[in-house]
């Protein structure tokens, strides 16, 4: 079974489908989410790598390049599984009170983990992409710092210079004088790996792929932004003779919260992204030819060649300034492209750097021209979300029938909104709980078991 042939066929079908149908395909970068279920059927030793390489689920979920990455970076697989599960649990936590509750019950046998909602380019899809990419970045960085990935190491050479170098360069500059120590390259590695791994299927050729790429990048930059530096001074009675600094990666809950905020303020981007608007006579069905132009153009992002027939170049060249924010200027790219970064060498990927960065070099345009263009941390989407009220099997939506709701809340978790006006059933059930706990010296907590009546409301 030649996999590349299959992929090629898929690719062609995808291309043709995007050309003919208005609904863009989901892109191909989403199958790997199934890795979350790797090692699940027999829960005996889910994370021992030896077994996992044999797991057929890997072959069915990972693309060839992803498998190569996993093979070349031993120890990464465990982190990926952890990361995927982290993403699922965080997504379900963030959406526990909403109509769409990030259910993964649609997953079976290689089908998409989050169900067919991913086929649509709606907000929820954007969130899924962002949170999965963020979770991979986070868990790879964590695994790096725990030392469970062999190909990434903490390089302390740059910080051993810090007290000296920073103070030689100038007493004029402000806070930047203090160089931080700590394993910065962990996050660099996580970022780079996530790009290589998560963005494999997304080439940015059509708008949907661009949306996925953007949301993946957004997830990663949220992780990077939450990497905190902490410093402390030591010295004779409170002076700062010796200053030590270290890095801390924030709890994933914080990143989940931030992404949820971005979800609430997500910006809708245009279907035929700004190509018609800028006065350029580019036909509207250019999605395909753009894609070809893009993939063949292995130019550096800033080389403005006049013959470049790629959508990105055109946007960069002809868009009015206020609409353009070229992505390479944003911090994540700069950090990762830093030639001193260890991570680049550690992630053994064969892709060319120039081409790879080129696909991040685009700016999506908001549908409402009065809105700001989406920033690097914003979540973008293409179409309105379905209401999620009724069961829609074509979209893989389960509906809110039978969901619990809160009758006093006026928010989305309130019964009015959750049940979409269908009304709800109120039940009183008996719950057995531990109660009236007392602390006995020393050291015991004794509780009684109580039978409490609890009222639950379920949507009809």
């Amino acid at each position: 079974m030649d996999l590349s042939a299959v992929l090629f066929v898929c690719l062609i079908t995808l291309c043709t489908s995007t050309g003919s149908k208005p609904k863009p395909g989901r892109g191909k970068g989403s199958m790997w989410w199934g890795i979350a279920k790797v090692g699940e059927p027999n829960n005996i030793s889910p994370l021992s790598s030896g077994i996992m390489y044999m797991d057929p689920a890997i072959h069915s979920t990972l693309r060839r390049k992803q498998r190569r990455l996993v093979r070349d970076n031993p120890g990464v697989l465990g982190a990926l599984v952890k990361g995927a599960n982290l993403a699922i649990s965080e997504c379900q936590h963030q959406f526990r009170n909403r109509r769409w509750n990030c259910s993964t019950r649609n997953f079976l046998r290689g089908k998409n983990l989050f169900g067919k909602i991913v086929d649509r380019g709606c907000r929820e899809t954007g969130f899924i992409y962002a949170i999965t990419s963020a979770a991979v970045t986070h868990s790879i960085a964590r695994a790096c710092s725990e030392g469970s990935i062999e190909s990434c190491t903490c390089d302390y050479s740059h910080q051993s210079r810090s007290p000296q170098a920073s103070h030689q360069t100038g007493s004029v500059a402000g806070v930047r004088d203090w160089e931080w120590g700590g394993c910065s390259d962990n996050i660099g590695f996580g970022f780079k790996f996530s790009r290589d791994f998560v963005d494999t299927g997304e080439r940015g050729r059509n708008l949907r792929e661009k949306m996925n790429l953007h949301n993946n990048e957004a997830g990663r930059s949220h992780v990077q932004a939450e990497m905190r530096q902490e410093c402390k001074c030591h010295g004779m009675s409170g002076s700062c003779t010796v200053k030590t600094c270290w890095m801390r990666l924030a709890n994933f809950r914080v990143i989940g919260d931030n992404l949820k905020d971005r979800f609430d303020g997500a910006s809708r981007v245009m279907v035929s992204n700004s190509l018609r608007q800028n006065g350029n006579t580019v036909p509207s069905n250019l999605a395909n030819s753009n894609g070809i132009g893009m993939s063949s153009a292995a130019m550096s992002p800033n080389a403005a060649s006049p013959n470049a027939f790629s959508a990105d170049q055109m946007i960069n060249d002809h868009m009015p300034d206020h609409l353009i924010k070229i992505h390479p200027n944003k911090p994540p790219l700069n950090t990762v492209n830093n030639p001193n970064s260890v991570s680049r060498n550690s992630v053994r990927s064969r892709g060319r750097q120039g081409k790879k960065n080129n696909r991040y070099n685009f700016q999506l345009k908001p549908q409402n021209p009065e809105h700001k263009p989406p920033g690097p941390k914003d979540i973008v989407y293409l179409e309105q979300s379905p209401s999620f009220c009724e069961k829609n099997l074509r979209l893989g939506i389960q509906g809110t029938h039978g969901r619990q709701c809160n009758d006093t809340s006026i928010g989305v978790d309130g019964c009015d909104l959750m049940c979409c006006g269908r009304g709800y059933r109120t039940q009183v059930i008996d719950v057995i709980e531990r109660c009236a706990c007392t602390f006995h010296w020393c050291c015991e907590v004794k509780c009684k078991t109580c039978r409490i009546k609890k009222t639950i409301h379920t949507c009809l």
Binding site: Q168, G182, V242
Partner: protein, 486 residues
């Protein structure tokens, strides 16, 4: 039609709550492995580099001394020159171009010495003049350069340099008073050699001029023994342990305390650990540099000349004993040059203590937190020792702030054995005072935490204290009332 489409893939009753457990596991960001990787290893690596610079230059200087000792014609200025160049080299490596500040300070004060020497009426008060001069220069330059981070970094070394200059001035004054001659200003080489000796240039401690000369003139091979290497190694290990306690372990173990007092105790402990770190680092560096604190000071068998005594601080007898054990050379400096002089002049214990604390806090530069902490400490300690003295006289019991002398002159003494009259009661009282001291120390220390940010706003600094309503200050007021009543 699409009903079947749907039902092919998914059984509807798939257990959905399975991820709730994973959620909890991932919360444990404060796990040991994480602390180790994210905090302990980076801090340790940074400090090891710093240690290598500090100890390396001291050692280099020492080795050069050994070579010079075997030169045919010994020149003392050569030794001083070695000391100066090693010190300057270390400064440039450790603080870069900012070492200019320190050199500037040293030159200014040396010329002041000569200037004062020209006018005979000033000669007898050169100590006081130099105290005022150095403090004024420091305060003025701090006013100019305060917002530079470089200043924060070299502040510690400038303090040590100032203490050295003041001590030279007072020693010169004493020779003047004794011999009734003009001041003999130390020659350029020995003066700058003392100021720039690498062993205590950056993290201190202050050592007297005599002990510097001692280390220069003695046979260097005599001092260069395995014993010092051992001291150095143990001190380094201790200081590494304390910095990790201060940076990582203490804040992460008690990461989010609900009770304000738990936070206060934690912060204060982190501050003390940070102080132990600096102290042991400086102890290691003077062990490597072959300095001794004082001619008649006995070194600890394992750790060399003690700068601080953590045990006496963690389990204190009284606040004044904490002050004594906090930074022993600094305490000696203040006692010898400031306290005694003032006491001789004004014959008042209170004034002497007040002026000593004033000079001590001014030596730290413009630093409101230090002023608040030191003056609170002064008041608390003063009240405590007064009260304990009064109690000890009233009951003839050994409850004074200072530990009783061995042949106990009180009637009730725990040192006379457990069985003796009232020993248990006296012991209990002392423990009670110790607990009060620990309480006060936490209260004062917690304010010193978070040194890195530049909050010179008065209210900002008092934030911690105001959250507990200045309770310790009220307590001390109450204690003072008790003292007056008794």
């Amino acid at each position: 039609m699409y009903l079947s489409y749907y039902n092919y893939d998914e059984p509807l009753d798939y257990a959905e709550e399975e991820y709730d457990t994973i959620l909890e596991e991932n919360q444990s960001i404060n796990s040991w492995a994480n602390i180790c990787e994210s905090c302990i290893i980076p801090s340790t690596m940074q400090i090891i580099w710093y240690m290598a610079v500090l100890l390396g230059f001291s050692l280099l200087c020492r080795i050069a001394f050994v070579f010079c000792y075997y030169l045919p014609n010994k020149k003392e200025w050569l030794l001083h020159l070695i000391s100066i160049s090693a010190g300057c080299g270390m400064l440039i490596v450790a603080v870069g171009t900012n070492s200019f500040f320190i050199i500037f300070f040293a030159i200014i004060s040396y010329s002041t010495f000569h200037l004062v020497n020209l006018f005979s009426p000033f000669r007898k008060n050169i100590g006081v003049i130099m105290v005022i001069c150095t403090i004024l220069t420091q305060l003025c330059s701090e006013q100019i350069w305060k917002h530079q981070i470089a200043w924060q970094m070299i502040k510690g070394s400038i303090m040590v340099v100032n203490m050295k200059i003041i001590s030279i001035a007072f020693e010169m004054e004493q020779t003047v008073l004794k011999s009734q001659r003009g001041i003999i200003v130390p020659n350029v080489f020995s003066f700058f050699g003392y100021i720039f000796t690498p062993a205590n240039l950056i993290v201190g401690p202050w050592v007297p001029y005599s002990s510097y000369l001692y280390s220069i003139r003695l046979n260097p091979m005599h001092q260069f023994r395995m014993r010092r290497v051992m001291w150095c190694g143990f001190c380094c290990l201790l200081s590494l342990g304390f910095i990790n306690l201060s940076n990582c372990i203490v804040p992460y173990l008690i990461s989010d305390p609900r009770l304000i007092w738990v936070r206060i105790f934690r912060d204060a402990f982190a501050v003390r650990c940070s102080h132990y770190f600096v102290s042991f680092l400086s102890q290691a560096s003077i062990a490597a540099g072959g300095l001794c604190l004082d001619k008649d000071d006995k070194p600890n068998k394992w750790l060399g000349y003690m700068i601080t005594q953590p045990i006496h601080i963690e389990f204190p007898r009284s606040l004044s004993s904490v002050v004594r054990a906090w930074n022993i050379p600094m305490h000696k400096f203040l006692k010898e040059f400031i306290f005694r002089g003032i006491y001789k002049r004004f014959k008042s214990h209170f004034v002497a203590i007040f002026v000593t604390y004033l000079v001590s806090s001014l030596l730290h530069g413009q630093y409101l937190k230090i002023y608040l902490a030191l003056f609170s400490l002064a008041i608390f300690g003063f009240v405590e020792s007064k009260l304990r003295k009064k109690i000890s006289i009233a009951f003839n019991a050994c409850v004074t702030a200072e530990a009783c002398q061995k042949p106990c002159r009180f009637k009730y003494c725990p040192s006379k054995g457990w069985r003796s009259d009232g020993a248990l009661l006296v012991k209990l009282t002392n423990i009670l005072f110790s607990l009060a001291t620990i309480f006060h120390l936490a209260y004062i220390g917690a304010m010193m935490e978070s040194v890195a940010d530049e909050g010179n706003d008065f209210a900002d600094n008092l934030n911690v204290w105001s959250t507990v309503n200045f309770i310790n200050h009220w307590l001390v007021l109450l204690t003072y009332a008790l003292y007056l009543v008794i």
